[in-house]
């Protein structure tokens, strides 16, 4: 009998059976996957690996530092000169660049001034894909308020001149602060040393960037001109012989191997040691090669004894729930170790909390897509760059010592990068930091994201098959579910189109520069709502619409398509910016999965349905982008200072920095949120 039945009805292939099984148990699977996804995210600090120098050629710390106390005291004299100029009453902003140029020439380098005007901001959301557009170089220095970058170059005595290492020191040329002067002093002492050494294989460029118009703008303007041949370039080459050897022509020195932005913090650390804070996030969550961070960290810790930190969210540090989670994983680790000494996982609870806060900060900064310093401008040209912010613990008498330590660190990093034979390529580009010496690589953190979004296609398939099965018996029109699916897809598509229009509304609102942020935000929301209403009305009035004939199963189909659209959006975003996709998935996935028409819940009136309804309302509330932003801001600091116009400013900054997160919010998150509301309010 069994044999006969097997012959008659062949079993489908195992992969299909597994798929069918998962779809039929989609509720259970999605709950398990979501919980596992969140757990995996929380476990990332435990799974983090210690960093290691992956590239053999780097050899950090193998050469002893050559920067002497004399160099450091030269740097100190330089700092004092800048401060004396800065304290002068009349200052046109050209004295300090001239002074720097004079010193560079004295130490044997080449100099030129780079005049620039900050670009008016324009929205290039796809700059991430195509790179900065080099075509638009304007030569109209009509305004007097241009900035002056001073560029000094040391040529490698026996190098091939094809590569360069950049040191950047942003400072305000009109009124430099003491800390800015100190960073210039560090760069000067290193630069003079490098002009003497015989081991350079790459040229050294010192960019003293005029930060009057913002640090990033100055560096970005210089980089733009570095990579484009402007029309004045060739003329200047000919007529560049000017007084005291300063050339007005643009000087270049090969491909950039790495760039270090040196800053000195205004506040002191309050620790025993001098501190160093590393900023690495560039636009759209791009990171420099991990090796660059590794060598800085290695040299700072082992060479100069600095206290290295990366950014963390301080308010999370004393949250009780994080600490108890840490203790829980520590306990599990201990139990596992007692069972089998070979199992070594679990880290001390305090380390876990530290790791979590750093990870959260790393995730947030990457998700934001806004560079955390002038190094972001380099990443746009695929140059690995980081910002080193030193925070001295000194009283001013110990400045020479501070200059010595920091100068030696910078020298060590430059010597290490100088050893490099190719671009940085050995180590990771996709990672999250959990401490300066620990990281989570892409292979690990993608697990959390994959678990989180795995239920979406399953639920979509399950809903679709449900909808096609449960046809009401009195159905008169022979519409196949496939056609219904198309109608709902049309709805989803229209809502996404609406999202695209919402994306560009702020661009028009920018035309009224006088309006306050709050008014702008409210205008934006209102105009979006009106637009949504009109698109709905227009789409339902279309001749081929069959909204009237929609079946009872319409909302399940709508949900299926919404879920599928969310899945596609999240997957696309994870390719562009993982961190945005991860945070977005945390909000979007539960909202999309839970959505059930409130009317169904209301009619059933059991405890379960009421709870589900409440959950839905809560999730939809949290899922509204302004609400999510303000809630998280309030939770991290305090609710007192939270104002609605913060959101507008935040969105504006995302837009100005060409962050892909802005596109994601408007074109993936918002439409899905609107569709979820649509499902909730669906009349039966």
């Amino acid at each position: 009998m069994t044999e006969v039945s097997a012959v008659v009805k062949p079993k489908p292939r195992p992969i299909i059976r597994i798929g069918l099984f998962l779809i039929s148990h989609s509720l259970f699977v999605s709950i398990v996957c979501c919980i596992a996804g969140v757990l995996a995210l929380l476990l990332l600090p435990v799974l983090a690996k210690n960093t290691y120098i992956s590239e053999n050629a780097l050899m950090p710390g193998s050469a002893s530092a050559m920067l002497s106390t004399d160099d450091a005291s030269d740097g100190h004299v330089f700092v004092n000169k800048i401060m004396s100029i800065s304290s002068m009453s009349i200052n046109s902003g050209i004295e300090i660049p001239e002074m720097i140029a004079k010193h560079i020439i004295e130490s044997g380098g080449e100099v030129n001034y780079h005049k620039f005007q900050p670009l008016s901001d324009s929205f290039h959301p796809l700059q991430f894909f195509v790179g900065p557009d080099a075509g638009m170089v304007q030569d109209n220095y009509s305004s007097t308020s241009y900035g002056v970058n001073t560029v000094g170059i040391v040529r490698a005595p026996r190098g091939d001149g094809k590569e360069a290492i950049i040191i950047v020191t942003p400072y305000n040329s009109v009124k430099p602060t003491t800390s800015e002067a100190l960073s210039l002093g560090v760069a000067y002492s290193v630069f003079t040393l490098l002009s003497r050494v015989s081991w350079l294989a790459k040229d050294i460029i010192w960019l003293a960037a005029d930060s009057r118009h913002g640090e990033h703008a100055a560096v970005a303007a210089w980089l733009r001109d570095y990579y484009t041949l402007s029309s004045g370039d060739l003329e200047h080459e000919v007529t560049s012989v000017k007084r005291d050897g300063v050339s007005n022509g643009f000087r270049r020195a090969g491909t950039m191997a790495a760039a270090l932005v040196i800053k000195v913090a205004d506040s002191s650390t309050g620790f025993e040691k001098d501190g160093l804070k590393i900023y690495a996030e560039a636009s759209n969550g791009q990171m420099p090669n991990l090796d660059l961070i590794n060598i800085v960290n290695y040299l700072a810790v082992h060479g100069q004894g600095l206290q290295v930190r990366v950014e963390k969210i301080w308010s999370l540090l004393d949250s009780w729930w994080l600490y108890s989670l840490g203790e829980l994983q520590e306990l599990i680790g201990k139990v596992a170790k007692s069972l089998n000494p070979g199992w070594k996982f679990g880290i001390p609870a305090s380390d876990y909390v530290e790791g979590c806060t750093t990870l959260a900060s790393s995730l947030y900064n990457q998700a934001l897509g806004i560079p955390t310093g002038p190094h972001g401008a380099f990443r746009d040209y695929q140059v690995d760059a980081i910002t080193l912010e030193f925070s001295p613990r000194f009283s001013s008498s110990q400045r020479v010592l501070f200059l010595l330590h920091v100068g030696r660190l910078v020298e060590g990093v430059i010597r290490s990068v100088n050893n490099l034979l190719e671009k940085f390529h050995q180590s990771f580009f996709l990672y999250l930091m959990t401490s300066p010496s620990r990281f989570v690589s892409v292979g690990t953190y993608m697990i959390a994201f994959a678990l989180l979004i795995a239920p979406l296609p399953l639920v979509a398939a399950a809903l679709f098959s449900d909808a096609s099965k449960s046809k009401s018996p009195g159905e008169s029109i022979p519409t196949s579910p496939a056609w219904n699916w198309l109608y709902t897809a049309k709805t989803v598509l229209i809502v996404h189109l609406w999202g695209a229009i919402v994306t560009i509304i702020p661009y028009f609102l920018r035309q009224f520069p006088d309006s306050s942020p709050l008014i702008s935000l409210l205008t934006w929301i209102a105009s979006s709502a009106v637009l949504l209403f009109f698109t709905r009305a227009a789409s339902s009035s279309l001749p081929f619409s069959c909204a009237s004939q929609l079946q009872t199963s319409e909302w399940t189909l709508l949900k299926a398509v919404t879920v599928a659209a969310a899945f596609i959006g999240l997957c696309l975003m994870s390719v562009i910016n993982y961190a945005t996709a991860e945070i977005g998935a945390l909000l979007l996935v539960p909202m999309c999965l839970m959505a059930v028409p409130l009317r169904i819940d209301a009619t059933a009136k059991t405890a379960k349905t009421v709870a589900r309804g409440a959950c839905n309302v809560l999730l939809v509330f949290v899922g509204f982008p302004p609400a999510a932003f303000l809630l998280s801001k309030g939770a991290l600091s305090s609710f007192d200072g939270v104002r609605l116009d913060d959101f507008w400013n935040w969105i504006e900054s995302l837009r100005e920095w060409n962050s892909a997160t802005y596109i994601y919010i408007c074109m993936v998150h918002l439409p899905c949120w609107v569709l979820c509301i649509h499902i909730l309010l669906h009349r039966r």
Binding site: A57, M59, S62, R158, W199, A201, N419
Partner: protein, 402 residues
Amino acid sequence: MATSFKFKPLTISILLLFLCNAIASSASGSSSTTMHTNNWAILVCTSRFWFNYRHMANTLSLYRTVKRLGIPDERIILMLADDMACNARNKYPAQVFNNENHRLNLYGDNVEVDYRGYEVTVENFLRILTGRHETAVPRSKRLLSDEGSHILLYMTGHGGDEFLKFQDSEELQSHDLADAVKQMKEKRRFKELLIMVDTCQAATLFSQLQSPGVLAIGSSKKGENSYSHHLDSDVGVSVVDRFTFFTLAFFERLNMYDNASLSSLFTSYNPNTLMSTAYYRTDLYQRRLEEVPVTNFFGSVMETIHTDSPYRAFSNRYYRKSKTEMPSDQSGGGNQRALEDSDVLEELADPKLNAIQVGCPLTHTWNTILGRMEKITQIDNFVNCGVVLMFPIVALSSWFSH
């Protein structure tokens, strides 16, 4: 004449010597009995890039050592995969050091690099070993060894299980090496071959060797790494590998007259200081290591016997001339080696002028007779005395006969 009678044993001995030489040369069909005629060294640094400075320093150190111990430049094939001396990162332009004290510049005068940069390939290396060059390759880049050659093959670089990396792009496998050595053996390109390798898992490179007369020593066993000895913080790189460092330390104590044996070299490696286990493979090698001086490979010093006696048979003048050329301590017999510099070596390298003492008893007896003969100071005086003595003897005998 009594004088002619007196010289009879001498002529017999000369005849015997010729006979003995004839026997030796007729037995030279098998290479184990071939005379050791000359020494060659192939020194290979297989890795490029600045951070592999130490490999070039290793090779150049070995180059300096074998040159000091008497192998002339034209018998050394030096392959350097990169040029550290002129690297822009080198703090000391045109100099290479193997120690942080910077006392010895390995890249000083008289360094003849035969294969440099991208010429150092597996193909070229195998061509050198097997002698299958393209016609345009000059003689100075060829291994012109013969069946009496002792060859030192030193290689350093990055290796792994049964391979040695060349130039970051290709590999020499243990099969390739064994095959090349086998071809060399068949072509009678060497008598004895010492392969010395300083890489990670160096021992694995020898696993396929089959040819007799090959002795192999590696810096580490399978699964072990070979480490660098120390870092020169001035230059900013590691400057020498441990195995090579201790090999050099051993040789720095020697000059070319020393009798240190290979076994004393091999036992000088201490696994604790080496941080790996030096491995040597002797099963293909016939002689006992205790009896083989290191200079058989690392120098160009051979056991010699002087066959100047044939000249004496013809003319005293010839004899005197050859005698003045002989080093002063010639009379000892047995294990004597004499070599002043590479010019003398050139003469000695001629197989007709020197021969290994292959244990022929006749040669040995002849040597002792020769030794004694030389103690008798002057033949002319001896003859004159004999003539003077003859008169009283003749007178006396005639007086008795009367």
